[in-house]
């Protein structure tokens, strides 16, 4: 079976729309329906690994809720803000994964261009997307360097000396990202990015029946849960 390919606009719209159930049905288990839908879309797009990572994340947050009554109160108070904060947006993160993992930079640019977004908005999106793999690469290189220097970067070191670990990770990270950011800016300026002209594209993106179908099902789910909740 071919991997599902959605128009970037569909994915952007889903990222926006999912905030409605997050706001309305928080705390209800109906929210799981929307999480499940995102997982289904990830699976259809053949992003099995991401789906698995997401499930792991979800399980972690659920587990925290279950064991929190056994942990010392002080730890729960410190962590719960963070965990509840992130936990609240778990459904959104699922759709975010879908957008980031299955969209090529240029397709996104074309889609935003079709939405009549100004150049400046398009370029900011491009830069954001471009930096994700770079951050990943840099993180791996620094983690390697830390291992060689005998500083571990894992669960244990984060738990026992979080400040030091973050410092060791983020000082080199900051400097190398600044450097590659600057190099990237210079390279793209000399390739004419950010000029007066409207950008042109060789291909185009189109909303197809699948896109409308995916959005329609999402809306049906929203309406359905809305009435059940009433």
């Amino acid at each position: 079976m071919k991997a599902l390919k959605l128009d970037p606009r569909t994915k952007l719209l889903l990222c926006l729309l999912v905030n409605v159930p997050i706001a309305l049905f928080q705390g209800s288990s109906w929210i799981l329906l929307f999480v499940g839908y995102a997982l289904l879309l990830l699976l259809l797009s053949k992003e099995y690994k991401v789906a698995l990572i997401y499930l792991g994340m979800y399980a972690f947050f659920e587990a925290f809720g279950l064991i929190s009554s056994f942990l010392p109160k002080i730890i729960v108070t410190i962590l719960s803000h963070l965990i509840i904060g992130v936990g609240l947006f778990l459904p959104f993160i699922a759709y975010g994964f879908l957008l980031i993992r299955t969209t090529e930079i240029n397709d996104l640019a074309i889609a935003l261009d079709k939405m009549k977004m100004p150049n400046s908005v398009i370029i900011s999106f491009l830069v954001l997307f471009r930096f994700i793999p770079t951050i990943k690469e840099e993180k791996q290189a620094i983690a390697n360097a830390m291992k060689l220097r005998g500083i571990s970067f894992g669960f244990k070191s984060l738990a026992t000396q979080p400040m030091k670990t973050f410092e060791y990770m983020y000082i080199p990270m900051l400097f190398s990202l600044l450097k590659s950011g600057e190099e990237l800016t210079v390279a793209s300026l000399t390739r004419g990015l950010g000029g007066e002209q409207k950008r042109t594209y060789l291909r185009t993106v189109k909303m197809g029946a699948v896109d409308y179908g995916v959005l329609f099902i999402f809306l049906i789910m929203m309406v359905f849960v809305f009435f059940v909740q009433l």
């Binding site: 930079i105 360097a145 990015l193």
Partner: protein, 472 residues
Amino acid sequence: MIKIESLFFSYQNSPNEDVLKNINLKVKAGEFVLLTGKSGCGKSTLLNMISGIIPHHTLGNLRGRIFVDNKDVQKHGVQEMSLSVGSVFQNPKSQFFHLNTTDEVLFSASNKGVPELELENRLRETTKLFNLTKLLHRNIFGLSGGEKQKIACASTYAGKPEIFVFDEPSANLDQGAIDELSGILSSLKEKNHTILVAEHRFFHLMDIVDKVIYMESGEIKRVYQREEFLSLSDQARKAMGLRDVHRTEIKKEILTLVTGDESSNWAGSINSDFELKHLNYKYGKTPVINIEHIALNREQVVAIIGKNGCGKSTLAHCLCGLKKGGLLLLNGKEYSEKKRLKAFELVMQDVNHQLFTESVMDEMLLAASNDALMEEINKVLAELDLLEYSAKHPMSLSGGQKQRLVIGASIMAGKDYIIFDEPTSGLDYVHMEAFAEIIKILKTKNKLILIITHDYELINLCCDRVISLSDN
């Protein structure tokens, strides 16, 4: 095509220090010009000025006049200049915008608003000129350095500028990729483009260059015609801090290891300090490197050469314990991955990844075993010419100093096996020689030193033998 008259320039953050002094230069249409000189001589600054990066993106104080393609650079922004000037830079990693090669090739043209039909023509033409058929529709992160550099050239070309400026394009490339790059450069020259290249390693340009500009501390010291430059004596050239005009041949014993060939092994003397056996590393199902047996002794400097992507870095990572693979015996004892991390140091190409603290001294203390004596640290710092910087922030040091600091840290950590990943890419002759001196000091400390490199001049200066990895 390019006309520069009594040009002075200083950067905004150090206004009293002119990095370019009284530059006068004329480049005719279709000319091929090499800019060279020691690191920091101002050649990159000059190139950035021609592309308009200076003064529009990087600010500073510019006096004098500079015209490129009849445009006054001071009055036209970078994007406007980009219609006339295309740039290719040193680092293949950070000059891409897309993950997909085809989109990247059209990036420049697309930014300039070239109509769709014309985009298609340009893609076809560029693909033909650069022989890109196999590289299109691929993920850029999966390409080798040479392939990435080719895509960068192609992207610039598809934007159809008159003038091309290259800032050390070969610094990270292997010999084969360098040859391909010079092929690209000469086909650009045939198409009558004006080309400026700043390089330390320039042997591959000697057939195509028209004139050579030698710069020193911000000034143009001399302009040579091609023949004049080629006739410089070795001595004169080295005194100018320049690398060889000819391709360097390796003058050391070379052992070729063919990946996957069972019979290819290199057993050294019987009681070797270092033995690696049965290394067979795969990425998914693709074999990356496959070595039956290598045996080496300490107090040796061994170069590891081979094409980009032949598994040199993977070999280094396996030895250091960053990746799992192979059976490693040090002094006859087996070393697990965890123990390898303590015995090996890897000095990365980007040493910025390896500096964690706020001062040179802290960096040494972090690496040192708990009861290191101050005297000892100071002694190592003095040997590496870093003593006067011990209170400085590591990030304020120069590239070479950072590299030496990482070496110092590994000495403090008591590591006896040190691997360097491309330590001299982008270095001029003087700095390369200085690095070779450091290697000689390290060698006397009874260490085994492995250097992954494409720099044959370095190999001849300080390596004892060479392992050449090849995949048939």
